[in-house]
């Protein structure tokens, strides 16, 4: 069985559905009647030029923004609207375009914090490090160590993340998201500001995460070439509207997309 086929088989039913989402700030429409879905196990890309509303879309999915219209259906349940806490506690993790790490903490602490929702021992047990507290801490540490190994960041385990170079911070941020064992991982421009080598590394990690953990991934990127190699399906946004939706090949051939990217006006 080819790798291609194996990938196809991995993809399952719809896990998240954005239904007629509209979002405006003051008079500006950031998103206009957007609908699309994400299937379990796939790598789904949202692309578009700057200001197309990609980040807004991601923020709607994990509840940072509440859309004026439309709703999010996740794992068969309709959220109107989604809230960050609900998103996180139901298995949606994310990273940020401008890296939002806990800069004062070490890599390890950042990732341990990523497991905050998985911890159940009482405050007293944790504080005094006995009973459930100790056992739990060790279990979480073991899981985090697996991710550290996976992302090859052993060397910076104890380094305060504020001191790390940009590329590594991005990796730690991915690590923190993975530490939450998400079902759906949202990546906001995971390769922005990286050099080619770092982009290649990051692409490899994204594919590995998808294969190794079976995590569904939705990512935003404006670098078309990277996205096309990486993703199973692509949504194209432009000025808050959906231009196209389909496999990379379909999207590549779509006239509206070509026009938007080449800046041709189409009356």
């Amino acid at each position: 069985m080819s790798v291609e086929q194996q990938r196809k088989e991995r993809i399952g039913e719809v896990i998240l559905k954005a239904d007629k989402i509209s979002l405006g700030f003051g008079g500006v429409k950031a998103l206009n009647d957007i609908s699309f879905d994400i299937r379990k196990g796939e790598i789904r890309a949202i692309i578009g030029p700057n200001g197309a509303g990609k980040s807004s879309m991601l923020n709607v999915i994990n509840g940072f923004y509440q859309p004026q219209e439309g709703n999010i259906e996740y794992k068969g349940k309709v959220y109107n609207p989604m809230r960050p806490y609900l998103a996180a506690s139901n298995g949606i993790a994310r990273t940020f375009q401008n890296i939002a790490l806990f800069k004062g903490m070490s890599t390890l602490d950042n990732m341990m914090t990523g497991r905050v929702l998985k911890m159940h021992a009482s405050i007293l047990e944790q504080a005094l490090y006995f009973g459930r507290g100790k056992k739990e801490e060790l279990e979480h540490r073991a899981y985090v160590e697996e991710i550290i190994d996976f992302l090859e960041i052993q060397a910076i385990r104890k380094t305060p993340v504020g001191r790390l170079p940009y590329g590594l911070q991005k990796r730690v941020e991915l690590g923190r998201a993975l530490a939450a064992q998400p079902d759906l991982l949202l990546l906001d421009e995971p390769m922005a500001g990286m050099n080619i080598e770092e982009k290649e590394d990051m692409s490899r990690f994204i594919i590995d995460v998808n294969e190794h953990f079976g995590t569904t991934i939705a990512l935003i990127e404006h670098d078309m070439s990277v996205v096309m190699d990486l993703s199973d399906r692509v949504v194209v946004l432009d000025y808050g509207k959906k231009l196209a939706d389909g496999t990379p090949d379909e999207v590549r051939a779509n006239q509206a997309v070509i026009d938007a990217y080449l800046g041709v006006s189409h009356e």
Partner: protein
């Protein structure tokens, strides 16, 4: 005290698999290997290692590995890869460690040349390279990989995971009980056990066949020389394919039973070093240099208080540290200062570097700068130099404790015969001398004549019997009076002066030695500024009479040094000049790795050389230079030529004073 009786008898236990069996019985539960994994140090006892090696050997036997086959080992320092060396040897096969940082193309040659039948790869990266090589290496039958990540999806049927081979081994063992032990018993000291590849500067790499006797006896004499113990510990972080690592992290560990630790990853080496605190440590000069640079940078960033304390106590250490280590007389007040420095600076520093427990530290491979060497020794780290090569199974000479000279590589070990050919080349006869180059009789005959291995290095023994390596033999020439002329040796001596950045020595087939000097713009510039001497350009700085005087003093100091060494006393510098521009790779005068291209320089500056070998007081030159923006221009310069005083042999004693 350790004595020979503490080690297994290598006449009886004459192969590594036999030693492993011995250690499993005698050292049982003491640790043989450690590795940091998932943030925690894991360890394996000798007993466990023996079990695992036996299981894997069964597995590889069931895959068809037979006596005389060769097995490639490719990857970073992982315990499992070290074990496969012993696995191959248990079955009478030859381990062929391959540099894991080679790209796929480069890997084809050794795999093909060595007729590799099986290969063991660390991870997906190496497996990918092997898949690329598979079609080009007809003998390659199967590939075993350790880390399953990413490889799981591969469908090639000749790929086996390490764990699956272990399982095959269990099945094989129950069907053929005692098979591996029988094979181990068949092995004998004269069998070839490993074939590392040397990266020659020219031509294809050569496969060096080493027998158990070579490696074992050589490593054993090193063990005896340093009185290594079972409770020593080392960190295996240099490439497995490099013979030094085989000697330290495999051969000597098997003989003494000390524990070898593998770092978590190549980036964590410094952290792992700190956590582990090895007692036996090896690093090439480059690494010692890097660590020193890092220390200096960190100190400059530290608070003023700490910085002052560091500089003060390092001054104390420079003054007395080395002498204390050598066991010389030091005044009580200096001893007390050093003891205080030890508490405040040296110990904390060594602790941070992970060097606080080092009993024996080696450096080798190239000349280490005396200031770097002394820095570590003055901290109380017993750093020593060692000389050897793949063909000699490493151990030829080592500096004995208490007799460390920064510019020698020590005395020959027990069993090593060493002589200097007329050409100055170092010749060696020892149990460690390799069996032959694989499928390369011509090269074998060139390198091994009447049992003497021609090292290709030129050197001589000093008055205390210490070997001093001066240059590559092929670069060493003769003066017209027949005296030895070793340009790099002279140049290095000059370059150890901070004011001299680069030097080029001439003298082959000439009457005397003469040199070009490049001053160091920074060091000399600072020096000039402190004295209020004004200068506008490098050229002007280089032509200052005060600078010439300073350089002359350095040259004469070098002459005094050379006079003290019989073999090279004739090559003292008679005349020198200071170049008006820095030698530059852009002008083709240096290689990209900053080595001087002597022949090119000799041609380019022919008029200057003419001047050096005449009575002229001056010479002039039009030199073409390339500007930063790529334009070319010429620079005309009139350079003064200076005579340096030479020291005649009888006045050696005074010169040394």
């Amino acid at each position: 005290m350790t004595s020979a009786s503490d080690y297994p008898d290598i006449a009886t236990y004459d192969t590594f698999p036999k030693l492993l069996r011995y250690n499993a019985q005698h050292l049982k539960d003491s640790p043989a290997m450690r590795e940091k994994n998932f943030g925690i140090w894991q360890s394996w006892t000798w007993h466990q290692v023996h079990e695992e090696v036996s299981r894997l050997a069964c597995g590889m036997a069931s895959l068809g590995l037979k006596r005389g086959d060769s097995v490639a080992i490719i990857g970073d320092n992982r315990p499992r890869l070290y074990w496969t060396i012993a696995v191959a040897q248990s079955l009478g096969a030859i381990a062929v460690p391959v540099y894991h940082d080679s790209n796929a193309e480069e890997m084809v040659y050794p795999l093909k040349h060595a007729d590799v039948r099986m290969a063991i790869a660390e991870d997906q990266e190496q497996v990918d390279k092997l898949l690329f090589c598979k079609d080009k290496v007809p003998t390659l039958e199967c590939v075993i990989y350790d880390d399953v990540r990413g490889v799981r999806e591969y469908t090639e049927d000749y790929l086996h995971s390490y764990d699956s081979v272990l399982e095959m081994g269990d099945a094989f063992a129950s069907a053929n009980p005692g098979y591996v032990d029988g094979e181990i018993d068949k092995g004998k000291g004269s069998d070839v056990c490993i074939m590392p590849y040397t990266s020659g500067t020219t031509g294809e790499p050569k496969g060096v066949l080493l027998t158990y006797d070579n490696l074992l006896k050589s490593a054993y004499s090193g063990v005896i020389f340093e009185k290594l113990r079972a409770d020593d510990q080392c960190l295996a972080y240099l490439p497995i394919a490099w013979i030094g690592d085989t000697a330290f992290s495999f051969a000597q560990s098997y003989i003494t039973g000390f524990c070898v630790a593998c770092p978590e990853s190549s980036e964590t080496v410094l952290t792992d070093l700190r956590e582990l605190g090895p007692t036996y440590f090896f690093a090439p000069p480059r690494i010692f240099e890097n660590i020193l640079t890092q220390v200096s940078i960190r100190i400059e960033d530290a608070s003023a208080m700490k910085r002052r304390m560091y500089h003060y106590f390092m001054g104390v250490a420079r003054k007395v540290g080395v002498r204390l280590l050598e066991g010389e007389d030091v005044s009580l007040s200096d001893r007390m200062l050093y003891a205080l420095g030890n508490i405040l600076v040296y110990e904390p520093l060594k602790n941070v570097l992970g060097l606080s427990k080092v009993r024996i530290g080696y450096t080798a491979g190239e000349a280490i700068g005396p200031d770097i060497f002394d820095f570590y020794r003055s901290l109380g780290i017993n750093l020593k130099q060692l000389y050897g090569s793949t063909e000699t199974s490493v151990f030829v000479t080592i500096q004995p404790d208490g007799q460390i000279k920064p510019d020698t590589v020590g005395v020959p070990l027990n069993g090593v015969d060493l002589k200097i050919a007329d050409s100055g080349e170092v010749l060696i006869k020892s149990p460690g001398i390799f069996y032959q180059y694989y499928k390369n009789e011509e090269a074998t005959e060139e390198a091994k004549i009447d049992g003497w291995f021609h090292t290709g290095d030129a050197g001589f023994l000093d008055e205390d019997g210490h070997l001093k390596i001066i240059d590559r033999a092929k670069d060493v020439g003769k003066l017209t009076d027949g005296g030895l002329f070793a340009p790099k040796y002279i140049e290095n001596k000059l370059k150890f002066f901070p004011e001299i950045r680069e030097a080029v020595a001439f003298g082959n087939a000439k009457d005397y030695c003469a040199v070009f000097i490049n001053i160091d713009s920074e060091a000399v510039g600072n020096w000039a500024e402190r004295r209020g001497i004004a200068y506008a350009s490098y050229q002007e700085l280089a032509s200052l009479p005060q600078v010439a005087e300073m350089v002359k003093a350095a040259v004469e100091q070098v002459n005094a040094d050379l006079a003290g060494e019989e073999r090279v006393a004739g090559s003292q510098i008679k005349r020198f000049l200071i170049l008006h521009k820095l030698l530059d790779a852009d002008d083709g005068e240096l290689t990209r790795t900053s080595k001087v291209r002597r022949r090119f320089i000799a041609e380019k500056y022919a008029p200057l050389i003419e001047g050096l070998y005449s009575d002229a007081k001056e010479a002039s030159i039009d030199a073409e230079i390339t500007f930063e923006d790529g334009r070319k221009g010429t620079l005309r310069a009139d350079l003064e030529i200076f005579d340096a005083t030479r020291v005649s042999a009888p006045s050696v004693a005074q010169a040394a004073e």
